[in-house]
Symmetry: C2
Subunit: 514 residues, 2 copies
């Protein structure tokens, strides 16, 4: 049992936080988060004295999507799916939960973030943590050795949510992967082309795609004198370079992870390097780096990759960056990550993109919006005989994109429509419900998106108001006179222009082509 | 610990089952289900002697969707969503899990089928059981009193799966609901119109929509002498009339539920009644029935409903059927259920639909494909002050529809395409990878769906084979001569017809309008 007084104190403090945020006009999300905490505290108190206080909220770290958010979501999905389809991808779907053991041993330290289901008898289940492991399980289970597929679905992580920054416990992943034994770097280049196309079409402002290779990282660690058993942990420290300064990263390597100062400094030299094909060329001649076979294999592939990226006309945004070190265990080759390089979304006007990789150093990264890489070993972990299926893929960070699009929509003057209704069937006089219903049905039957008010005698004004609120462009107005004449009055809501049309919808091509 | 010998015996028996099914050429799904059982048994044995046997399967009662199934799913969703949009619906989304207490007390006996999440610290969570309760929670939480929305998402029930009949533990629901205080029966009629349109457009064969009213059922029980506290349990017995004979239903009422023989017989008389507006009229005059105020209210509304259904031109498929008694606790008014009335899907040719409700008695019901009703009290259960928001809605039984569409696709000669690729960029000669990649990128940039083989020197035959397998209609063939002439050869895969085009895609309108 918790101490009642302690909770009451906490409620007071939390109440203050909420009041303060409100007075400061903090963002709605921030306030909602703090209100949720307050409600949770109150519920705990309520449970204590036997009187049940019902908590009306969604689970921590999750959210509903309202119609406006859904309209934006649909638009973003359409852009992304069109791109995936343009590149010839099929789609699959897998269940939201997997056998617990399917996920075991795939995510390293992050496994603690997996949601388990309660043991209610039967199999032990967990919610999927990403779409890549279920994809590998699907390939192995169905003995598929060749597929280009996309999969858009929600995944689950018991992480500390930061909903104001688009970080949730339930969130969408948007994955495109190519599985199969092909010639080097061709599918990898297509994945980068896809990232480029999507970010370009979504028009989120300037971006940069960083590329590296797991083999280059491992080779670099080896030639810098990092002991084999420390590769992973040093790698995850390097991964923090986008949030921490080199000094702090070095401190962590030396003080926490026990790396020699000298090794750390050599790593420091390499990870500050950025460039294109030239840099790969240069490092292949590098006295140290060229000692590692692995690194050389990675560097040659980077060169080949850049040659394909040139053919795909995307090199203006791609940087070979030795500091890129994505965390996931399963990557075996090329890795990449796309970041937006503009400080804020409001200032999306800067269109100057000079293309030289070096020139972006001053712009502030607002975070990763896509990432991926090659994972040639994962499918083999599922195959009973360990048969490998080489894979490369990319995941679009859709939640952050939603956040940005929502902010843009709020700033913009343009209203987001949440329905697609073309015409409202209205009447100015009373007792015309039957006629309205009949005409509406005729419109529906003709494939026209139409609405009618669910009232016997609605006021014309309220019918017109509904049109304006939800952006319905046309209103068909019925009246005694029109019925006698066998016509409907069709009014353009915005201009109040009116025309009369014969009632038979099949002879009214104007309406059918709205 | 389980007895090893017992499991080994069970494995033998199960192995026999699988062999038998295979020799009988049973359906793939049936065999898969039995193989899964076999694998589970083997896994249990494996765990026993310490050697871990990895089980490569999806969780019980769930399935993956392969690209072909996804193509069908997309088609079905498009039809349904178009209909919902035609009727002016917005869409929302809610999280896959809710606070456990949100679901508590909403599903009666079925609550035991709810999936709980493991208590990993923090809130107690459950997977959603339907989309209606989360919708009501959403309305109450956001104080929404007016909305017309659809929601398509997966729900979860720890039921006994019967996957061969399209019954899963994870399955889609496709809900359309109208919330708000409106004039009687207008939104209700639109819900039925929507069911009619969707089933008509999906072309699944003849169907019937049964309509009844919770108040008519309750009134009927009252006038037949059913004690108040037995309404629900007698109602759930009546609900079995579509699967059991009246004799068996009566037996259950009298022997198991302790109803008097006389009361049961009177119920028997009523529940055999089917008709249209006339029947409602007739029952309003019925000596017994007219004694119940509730029943009269329900009957008047049925009359009104039918008058609107006439305006909507859907009465040919709608039957007022007193035996319809949907199980869910939360219904308060009109209820309905759509059933396909044809024995098999193979015989979808019978187009004779004479429309008289009585004439369908001989056709065999292949099960419910949509259902819904009015639930005016559910939102009030969530509102702190109990404020009610009247709601009516319908849920399309999409999984059964998928099953039928899949069967149809299997029978049909037409191949289901899983990609939308318009053109394959190929070469007949070696060393043209760069040219192929370049042209493919130009096509992508022009918005054309294009594919290229990820090989340096693929054989022309294998490139053409890929086109035939995946239904790509055009192939652009590059060769030395064409490159010299600045053209590409464009071949229609089906007819082998060939034309030459200039390489600049922007001057090749033919390609852009494929």
């Amino acid at each position: 049992m918790e101490d009642k007084v302690q909770i009451q104190d906490a409620i007071k403090v939390q109440g203050e936080v909420v009041r303060k945020l409100k007075s400061e006009k903090a963002s709605k999300e921030q306030i909602d988060e703090e209100v949720a905490k307050l409600l949770e505290l109150k519920a705990r108190l309520g449970g204590d004295d036997g009187k049940h206080q019902f908590v009306l909220k969604t689970a921590k770290g999750t959210r509903d999507y309202n119609p406006k958010q859904m309209a934006i979501r649909e638009k973003v999905f359409n852009t992304i799916i069109s791109c995936f389809k343009r590149h010839g991808a099929e789609t699959i779907d897998t269940p939201v939960f997997e056998l617990k053991e399917t996920l075991t041993g795939k995510y390293g330290e992050d496994s603690k973030l997996i949601y388990d289901l309660k043991d209610q008898g039967g199999e032990l289940l967990s919610l999927r943590y990403d779409l890549t492991v279920p994809f590998a399980r699907y390939l192995a289970m169905n003995k598929i050795t060749n597929i280009k597929r996309y999969h858009i679905a929600k995944v689950y992580r018991r992480d500390n949510p930061a909903m104001t920054r688009g970080r949730y416990r339930e969130f969408y992943q948007c994955d495109f992967d190519i599985a199969g034994q092909y010639d080097a770097m061709i599918p990898d280049a297509e994945c980068l082309k896809i990232v480029y196309e999507i970010l370009h079409e979504l028009d989120l402002g300037d971006f940069r795609i960083k590329v590296n290779d797991r083999r280059i990282l491992d080779g670099m660690f080896a030639v810098c004198g990092v002991p084999d058993d420390k590769f992973r942990t040093i790698c995850s420290t390097v991964d923090k370079l986008d949030k921490m300064s080199w000094e702090d990263v070095k401190k962590e390597m030396v003080n926490e992870k026990g790396l020699s100062e000298q090794a750390a400094d050599q790593i420091g030299e390499y990870v500050s390097m950025q460039g294109g094909m030239d840099l790969a060329e240069h490092l292949l001649q590098d006295q140290k780096m060229s000692q590692s076979k692995q690194a050389c294999a990675g560097l040659s592939d980077i060169k080949l990759l850049f040659s394909y990226l040139q053919l795909f006309q995307v090199t203006d945004k791609v940087v070979f960056d030795l500091s890129l070190a994505r965390g996931l265990d399963y990557y075996t080759g090329v890795i990449y990550e796309a970041v937006l390089t503009q400080a804020g979304v409001a200032s999306v006007t800067t269109e100057a993109q000079n293309g030289a990789p070096g020139s972006t150093e001053e712009s502030v990264s607002v975070g990763s919006v896509a990432g991926g890489g090659r994972y040639d070993g994962l499918v083999g972990m599922f195959d009973p005989k360990g048969r490998k299926v080489p894979c490369v893929g990319v995941s679009i960070g859709i939640e952050r994109i939603f956040s940005i699009m929502e902010q843009k929509a709020e700033v913009s003057a343009e209203k987001v429509r949440t329905t697609e209704v073309q015409v409202m069937v209205a009447s100015a006089q009373k007792n015309l419900l039957e006629e309205r219903l009949k005409l509406t049905a005729e419109l529906w039957n003709a494939g026209i998106k139409a609405e009618v008010m669910y009232k016997k005698n609605p006021k014309l004004l309220s019918q017109l108001q509904h049109c304006e609120e939800s952006g319905i462009p046309l209103v068909a107005i019925l009246g005694e006179q029109e019925l006698k004449d066998g016509v409907v009055k069709l009014r353009v809501v915005a201009t109040r222009e009116e025309v009369s049309h014969t009632v038979d919808i099949h002879t009214a091509p104007h309406l059918r082509t709205i």
